[in-house]
Amino acid sequence: MLVTALYVALSRDLLAVVMVFGIYSLLSAGMFMVMGAPDVAFTEAAVGAGVSTILLIIVLSFIGRFEKPQPRQWVPLGTVLVTGITLVYGTFDLPPVGNPDNPAQQHVAPHYLTESAREIDIPNVVTAVLASYRGFDTLGEVLVVFTAGLGVWLLIGGPRREGKR
């Protein structure tokens, strides 16, 4: 994943960048799978590696394949490095992954895990949480997807009205 990320940052061949980005998405889908989140892995493989790669290739056929050579920009590079180092330093204070005493495991997760069989009675707890306990959040996500489509439609689609405002 590190190799693909570095290649994406350094290469000037945009078509290759899009391809490698797809590979990066597929690798992270595999990582989600290893960490036991097949729902997220599905989404990442289909959206990250599939749909968004196709969208980027369509855009590339519009803007051309190669990036114009530009002088190296040191200030953005420095900003990114400082932010990255700070974030990595911040992760040292995070509790270890998978520890049952973590705050995330103590709040509502035990209720979902122990009570959803009695209250909702479907085997996939992820679906139970997303669709029922957190129904408002999922409604918001659906509306975000819908609004995104609407926004793209308004920006680049729809009937042309030339000469008429």
Partner: protein, 140 residues
């Protein structure tokens, strides 16, 4: 890519399988991994593969743009409507307990309805995005 024989034959075989898998993920999401969002993007990717191999006109024929626009709105409306229906039946917004004869059956019905709404909206929006980008690029 319209004249690549191998691609056309393989995709003709694969696309029904992808659609079937999307339906499986949609309606089996309560038992295995998956749900409306995942099923929506898988269905959309089947249509996008169809678009890449057979050309956008063919795909527009089976999924016309106005229908997609209606479907994208219909999915969101189905989700929100489930909430309003639970309000009308005297419960809180998006509280599915009242849909069935007992709370558990109600939860099952509610979850199936809203997952269907999510799947319809996501699939229609993704395909619509691809159509719009292709149309925009073609116009230049």
């Amino acid at each position: 890519m319209e004249n690549q024989l191998i691609l056309r034959v393989v995709c003709k075989f694969l696309i029904p399988v992808i659609v079937l898998f999307a339906l499986y993920v949609q309606f089996h999401g309560e038992y295995g991994p998956g749900g409306g969002f995942q099923a929506g993007v898988i269905l959309a990717s089947a249509l996008i593969v169809h678009m890449l191999v057979f050309g956008i006109e063919e795909t527009r024929r089976i999924a016309p743009v106005p229908v997609l626009r209606w479907l994208a709105a219909l999915g969101a409306l189905l989700y929100g409507g489930a909430g309003v229906a639970s309000l009308l039946l005297g419960a809180n917004y998006l509280d599915y307990d009242v849909f069935g004869s007992n709370p558990i059956a109600g939860q099952h019905i509610g979850i199936i309805i809203i997952e269907l709404g999510v799947g319809i909206t996501v699939a229609a929006t993704m395909v619509l995005l691809c159509f719009l980008f292709v149309a925009r690029v073609r116009r230049q």
